[in-house]
Amino acid sequence: MVTLDINGAKKQLDIDPETPLLWALRDGLKMTGTKFGCGMAQCGACTVHVDGQPTRSCVTPVSAVAGQKITTIEGAHSKAAEAVRASWRKLDVVQCGYCQSGQIMAATALLESNKKPTDDDIDAAMTGNVCRCATYQRIRAAIHDAAQSL
């Protein structure tokens, strides 16, 4: 039995401790906002926060995060997260939308550690998150826009 602290709630799961957090969230808890994109930390679609740090849940075994605070897109309601979400909506960033949970989690982590990121900061923080629709220009603009409101 593995106990996880997800979005402030304790969740017990009877799973192999080596199961990636991504599949524990999705198949185990039916929390489907966190997406599967590559399975090898190459695309960022599965990004969640572990103790505030952006983390690729597809390569993170649940055994490695027991006892740590996990935040998913469903529970991302910090001031920075809400600012990011509002800017994403204001600028209509999304297209297919499949990568956007991960983009929002990565952008939120950036703004929580850096209130006024430069374009270079955004490149550094967001280049691990792939968007095949290539919404990058709006992601960049939305991060700057969210920074304005923080």
Binding site: W23, D27, C96, I104, C133, A134, Q137
Partner: protein, 735 residues
């Protein structure tokens, strides 16, 4: 994708099949839809198959077109809401059920999404649908208020009779309107009065796609559902010889191993168990009928074929004679690699199979074909196949294929499991990258002749590549005399007036499954035509922009010429480009392409370092797609098209070694990332012409615009894509 690209073909096709279903749809929908609504919810107002108004006033638009990111739901709902005068905050959109009678794509003659056709398809159909519903609401209010219908005005889901100072929300008349007969010949709005069309209504899917609640196929969890991964042949065309499932069966959570036509499925209680089970599976493959060549061999074979005349796609004058007598000749050979679509959501399908029913959840792009293929597999009738079309996490063409590969495979798994449980079949990224149905590998061989006065007098373009359509239901319509229109579109009908032209093509054979990939033939023809024209400009001592303008003489290219001029103007083409820092070369390139009846020109500004690394600093896009239903979505599609095409130009390549795909995931099938995205500026030509699509047309010009900018900066060309740093470095270093 484009399934027809000449008006004669399209007209003939419509006359043959689609026109009939259009008429049927309009004759049947009022009664059919009302009866259906009555059966499920008597209080809804559903005057036709495309919309319903709930008692609370919520307007739900049923989209026959898949939402895969291109903004179709928003655009389609905008058209309905405009004529309905609906309050945008009360408008929703959902995927229509699979029903070719009601929801046929008039371009294909069946239900499906592609060819950047969604808005063009919807323009007349949905304006009429919305206006009809509005007329009925007005009629209902007129009867209740005992005033002439002509005195009632509407706006934002509200009815108003000024003389008696009465207003009411649409919700109040939903029941009364539902009881009225459906009128015919309802008048449409004067475009000058539009309040939504042309005004960039916010996307309908922004909220759900930013809080994690948007439902994709991967997010479907049915009670008792199991998950399967499929082991497929590592070489295309291979078959299962034997299976050793002993180790796989020992993995905790693995439920059963079933063999299906495309391979061996590991069925498990969840995805992780299925993955581990498949990793432990030991399959021996029979490669007797498999493609075992390497891409280097395929390219060499194609280059050999390019020395032989092919099927003639376009002919004017005598190109051979004109080349022979030219004062100057230019030649080039291009190689375009196989490309995977790699949508962010890997392929997936959920199937619930019963003794005489089959329900499917998918980001379904070809509903009618998928129903037919599944019905064939099961021995059912197509109407027994119920399809729930969900948001697709990207497609770029991949989810629309005539074999219905991923959907049929999932149903085959359900069938092999003897209907024990609903099943979700998930593809990993590796399965996706190695799964085929690629943009075909193409070789282009080109020659041009220039006379003593510097005029372009001869142009030849020979294409070698696999046909996408031969062997599919679209062959009879789209392949004529050996010419697949999807191979030569953009080449055979290039917009430049040259006195002597010969375009011919070979439908090369290879055992690699191929498919349309966002903008189809234009993915390679625009690059070949538009970069070769720059080579001609240089040889003739002419400005690339001015040469293009001077050759767009036919009035049918006026709109393309207009976007070309607009892009050049907005990019400041007439002024010198600012120099870069020391050691950095800068260049500016231009390219234009008409695709899917939309006109796009782009100017790219590029910085090149001696090590071959480049940065695309800025891209100016000019687009004419007729009426701009939602300008912001059009801009988004141009931005996205630029990024998607640029990623393919710089990195995209699927290669085979002895028949096996060498790439597997995003580390070696490299997508464009944030740090490579240029600044994109989009300018939309104001137009009153019927709207056309924008999902694909942003892609074709970016590759050649960037390559031309690099050429302007360095004088060097890379003609075998992708245009990687290594290749560019070698080209720069060459004499």
């Amino acid at each position: 994708m484009k399934l027809t690209n000449d008006t004669v073909g399209r007209r003939g096709f419509l006359a043959g099949s689609a026109a009939a279903s259009l008429v049927i749809a309009f004759n049947l929908t009022p009664h059919g839809a009302r009866a259906a609504a009555a059966a499920t919810n008597a209080k809804n107002f559903a005057p036709n198959a495309f919309l319903r108004v709930a008692p609370d006033g919520t307007v739900t638009v049923l989209s026959k077109h898949l939402e895969m990111g291109q903004g179709s739901y928003t655009g389609i709902a905008t058209i309905v809401a405009e004529e309905l005068d609906a309050d945008w905050s009360k408008v929703r959109c959902e995927g229509a059920p699979a029903d070719a009678k009601l929801y046929s794509n008039h371009l294909f003659g069946m239900q499906g999404t592609g060819g950047s056709s969604s808005i063009a398809n919807s323009w007349d159909e949905l304006r009429t649908a919305g206006a009809t519903a509005r007329a009925m609401l007005i009629q209902a209010a007129a009867a209740a208020w005992k005033v002439p219908a002509g005195e009632i005005e509407t706006s934002k889901s509200t009815l108003r009779h000024a003389a008696s100072n009465r207003t009411a929300p649409y919700a109040q008349f939903v029941s009364a309107a539902a009881a009225l007969p459906v009128p015919a010949g309802v008048k449409l709005k004067d475009p000058a009065t539009y309040t939504l069309i042309g005004k960039s209504a916010p996307r309908l899917d922004s909220n759900a796609k930013t809080d994690g609640t948007a439902q994709f196929t991967l997010d479907v969890y049915l009670p008792g559902m199991v998950t399967a991964l499929v082991a497929r042949s590592p070489k295309f065309g291979g078959t299962v010889k034997s299976v050793d499932a002993a180790a796989a069966k020992k993995i905790k959570g693995v439920l059963e191993i079933v063999q299906i036509p495309s391979g061996v499925a590991v069925v498990a209680k969840d995805t992780w168990a299925a993955k581990q089970g498949r990793d432990a599976l030991n399959v021996t493959w029979d490669f007797a009928n498999a493609e075992t060549r390497s891409t280097t061999t395929i390219v060499a074979d194609y280059k050999k074929l390019a020395q032989q005349p092919g099927a003639v796609a376009a002919k004017k004058g005598d190109a051979a004679q004109a080349l022979a007598s030219a004062a100057k000749r230019v030649e080039a050979t291009y190689v375009f690699p196989y490309l995977a679509h790699a949508p962010m959501e890997p392929l997936d399908t959920v199937v619930k199979l019963g003794p005489d029913s089959c329900e499917i959840w998918a980001g379904d792009q070809f509903q009618t074909i998928d129903q037919g293929n599944v019905a064939k597999l099961l021995g059912f009738k197509p109407e027994q196949i119920k399809i729930n079309t969900l948001y697709a996490g990207g497609s770029f063409g991949r989810r629309a294929n005539t074999q219905s590969d991923f959907i049929v495979e999932a149903v085959a798994v359900a069938k092999a499991m003897k209907q024990k449980a609903p099943v979700k079949v998930v593809w990993t990224r590796e399965d996706d990258i190695r799964g085929g149905l690629y943009r075909p590998l193409f070789v282009h061989k080109m020659e041009a002749g220039i006379d003593a006065q510097g005029n372009l007098t001869a142009w030849t373009n020979r294409l070698v590549g696999q046909s996408i359509l031969v062997g599919t239901p679209f062959e009879s319509m789209m392949v004529k005399d050996g010419v697949d229109m999807t191979s030569v579109e953009g080449s055979a009908d290039m917009p430049y007036d040259v006195a002597n032209i010969l375009v011919d093509t070979h439908n090369a054979k290879a055992g690699v499954p191929v498919l349309w990939w966002r903008s189809v033939g234009h993915t390679h023809t625009a690059f070949a035509v538009e970069t070769f024209l720059d080579d001609v400009a240089k040889a003739a001592g002419k400005d690339p922009f001015e040469l293009r303008r001077s050759l767009m003489t036919d009035t049918k290219h006026t709109r393309l010429k207009t976007v070309l001029e607009l892009a050049a103007d907005k990019a400041g083409w007439s002024k010198p480009l600012a120099a870069g820092p020391a050691g950095v070369l800068r260049g500016r390139g231009i390219a234009a392409a008409e695709s899917f009846s939309t006109y796009v020109a782009q100017v790219a500004e590029v910085s090149v370092k001696p090590d071959g690394s480049i940065k695309v600093d800025r891209v100016v896009v000019a687009v004419d797609c007729g009426v701009a239903v939602n300008p912001d979505v059009i801009k988004a599609q141009m931005e996205g098209g630029v990024g998607f095409g640029l990623g393919a130009l710089l990195h995209g390549e699927i290669t085979l070694k002895d028949g096996e795909v060498e790439q597997s995931n995003f580390h070696d099938y490299v997508p464009l990332r944030m740090d490579e995205m240029p600044k994109v500026e989009v300018f939309i030509v104001p137009s009153t012409a019927a709207p056309t699509g924008v999902g694909e047309p942003g892609v074709p010009p970016i590759g050649p615009a960037v390559a031309n900018a690099i050429f302007a900066a360095t004088g060097k060309r890379v003609r075998e894509l992708p245009l990687t740093q290594e290749k560019l470095k070698a080209a720069i270093a060459s004499a």
